[in-house]
């Protein structure tokens, strides 16, 4: 399963490198007075992954494909990716995996690994959020 970025909307790869002082929101800057919202919980069987505001499934009628629309990004979805994202309906990850395993008659372990890897990629892009029930 894949979510392929459509070319114009995603920047190129960026090589990783050395450690330096890490910015944190602990020291508020200047006098702006903002307080950073907390990080999402880690993706776990009991946690609920969801599409946040500004991220939605859509149909690209010109190219005839399923896409995920997100801030300044559009991703091309294959059938499995579309099935996973369509299943994000407020249930915890465990229930979603069980449902997909039953629907596709596949081992739950494998589905679990695939779904987590797929969702983690979108979590890292801030296209999927995670919350506690």
């Amino acid at each position: 399963m894949t979510a392929q970025p459509l070319p114009a909307l995603v920047p190129g790869p960026d090589p990783a490198a050395a450690a330096v002082p890490v910015p944190t929101a602990a020291a508020p800057c200047d006098d702006a007075g903002f307080v950073a919202p907390p990080a999402d919980p880690a993706l776990d069987a009991g946690m609920i992954p969801f599409l946040p505001r500004g991220v939605r499934l859509a149909r690209d009628h010109v190219r005839d494909m399923a896409i995920l629309q997100a801030p300044e990004r559009a991703m091309q979805l294959d059938a499995v990716g579309e099935a996973i994202l369509t299943a994000l309906d407020g249930r915890p990850l465990g229930a979603i995996v069980a449902d997909l395993a039953a629907r596709y008659a596949a081992p739950a372990d494998q589905i679990d690994a695939d779904v987590r890897a797929f969702l983690q990629g979108l979590i890292d892009r801030r296209m999927v959020f995670v919350r506690a029930p």
Partner: protein, 380 residues
Amino acid sequence: MTIAGPRDFQGNPVTPGLPVAMLAEVTHRCPLSCPYCSNPVELTRADAEMPAALWAGVFAQAAALGVLQTHVSGGEPASRRDLADIVRGARDAGLYVNLITSGLGLTLARLRDLEAAGVDHVQLSLQGVGRTAADRIGGMQGSWDRKMQVARWIAEIGFPLTINAVVHRQNLDTLPQMIDLALAMGARRIEVATVQFHGWADLNRRALMPTREQAAQARRVVDAARAALRGRMVIDYVPADHHARFPKACMGGWGSTGLNVTPDGTVLPCHAAQTIPGLTFANVRDTPLAAIWHESPAFNAFRGTAWMPEPCQSCERKTLDFGGCRCQAMAMAGQAAATDPVCSRSPLNPAVHARADADAAAPTDELIHRRMAREEAPRP
């Protein structure tokens, strides 16, 4: 001589793809006057701007052509009183709407109107951190305070937020604070974009060119922040290409995936394309967008790879970076088809590095802010 089908500027056949994104520069007006503005040095005046109804038609044509998202930008798009109408036209066409703004001119009521009109996501620019630095770069007293207020309203409404931090020699050392601020504002993403030295920025290169050490440190800061903030905030980084080994894949290739419509309806492959002499850019008021995209000589001029000279032609990277930026090649090499001189394989590269180093060491911080021509002429 008539040859059927689209051809590049040398007459080689090309195969146009489909555009994904459209930059809609709905006005060149802006209360800020940043010295690196990406608008052309010759700005379009308000009376030449397309009305919202014409923009709606452009958005509908764009969607039919394959465009999925529009970036409603400027100038400052909020300088248009009918911005919500423009946004509605884009959403009615089925496009995802990104609002690209400095925040200046927005009120809570206007933001709520824009939410109702269908803005999907807001990208807020950051000129610097703190009142003194930001107001100086933006050329407007009070702009920082107003921008911070707008950021609070954006959070209150719940718009997805991206911070666009334009960096250069005079603010690159504050990159950690910029990242902190974006995180504190609740931004899902920060785009750290080094000034691209075209147009207005080129006039200011001696005051804005980063040093090599700054560019190297910025890379380290970005890499560390990415690791620390994974899953919290995405950090996209556009480095200073004057310091790179290979050029950026400008626009993902000329006329390949994006297009830009200016306030008066001129359609460009990129916002600096008018700096290339000899190309004629059609206007969407006169010519259908699909015809401009598929058939116009300007869009076809640098499509594909057949037009490329050496060293690009035999380079294994030619389908990765497309020889870099045509406008930069024009500006630095005097030929739009030349290898982008920021490429280490360009014969002009040593001169580019020498000039960038000299500009970075220039003993001036004085800025030439952008302005409309004749703006200071006495009014009748």
